[in-house]
């Protein structure tokens, strides 16, 4: 199955995205742990786009949810925006071995995305950033 939502890139809209994804994950009988992983990763990406892609101007994010019908279940979520070109797969990950005193506030989002998803792919095409996160559920 496949479904798409187009929404203004604003952290205020995260709950709408959450509900959209949650509903599809539930419908596909994804268990609590995997569901939580996928929502976590999606929040980090949606928030990054909302905060940085359009530099304070208005813009949209298109989110496509795809789920395979056969086993293993493969969930792919694609985020597309027309904001500033940005490849998150090139960003240095947070160092999670640091003590709290040495840690900077923030920077954990992408670390979490990589930790909970099986694959993170980036493509720039048609003047758009396309980020696809994949979870394989065996």
């Amino acid at each position: 199955m496949n479904d798409t939502i187009k929404i203004p890139a604003s952290t205020k809209n995260w709950r709408i995205v959450y509900d959209f994804l949650h509903q599809h994950l539930k419908r596909n009988n994804i268990n609590h742990k995997e569901l939580s992983h996928i929502l976590l990763a999606s929040e980090e990406i949606f928030v990054n786009i909302s905060n940085y892609a359009y530099g304070g101007k208005n813009g949209n994010v298109i989110i496509n949810f795809g789920c395979s019908s056969s086993s293993p279940i493969v969930i792919k979520i694609k985020f597309t925006d027309k904001g500033v070109k940005f490849n998150p797969t090139k960003v240095k990950k947070a160092d999670v071995t640091l003590d709290f005193k040495q840690r900077k506030i923030g920077g954990l989002g992408l670390f979490i995305v990589y930790k909970v998803m099986n694959k993170v792919e980036y493509k720039y095409e048609n003047s758009s950033n396309n980020l696809i996160i994949t979870k394989i559920i065996k």
Binding site: R15, K33, L39, L40, E43, V47, F100, I105, G106, K115
Partner: protein, 103 residues
């Protein structure tokens, strides 16, 4: 997210309910700031009813940890976390400096 607190002198138990995410975390930080203004040093965060924690929530907890550790005898601990929430604390290395008790 809903927030309740039980305060006794220098100690507070914060009972948090719902999702601690990008939309609710700023409110959580405001609640913590208010409590810090009242010279509280020992924070117990009761996460029994928290069903979702993202990096936005971790950011506020790290902020609290930094503020509280600067106080003489200041401590922060999380109690009653569920498995999914514990996993987030654990994978990000927070359990190395923050006591997290699992429900």
């Amino acid at each position: 997210m809903t927030f309740k607190k039980v305060q006794k002198g220098e100690e507070v138990t914060c009972i948090i309910e719902g999702r601690v995410d990008t939309q609710s975390s700023p409110d959580l930080q405001i609640e913590f700031e208010r409590i810090l203004d009242e010279d509280v040093k020992k924070f117990t965060l009761d996460f029994e009813k928290v069903n979702y924690l993202s990096s936005a929530g971790l950011r506020v907890i790290l902020w609290l940890q930094k503020r509280v550790s600067a106080l003489d005898g200041g401590t922060v601990e999380v109690i009653n976390a569920n498995d999914e929430v514990f996993e987030v604390f654990d994978m990000t290395g927070f359990t190395d400096f923050l006591p997290v008790n699992v429900n």
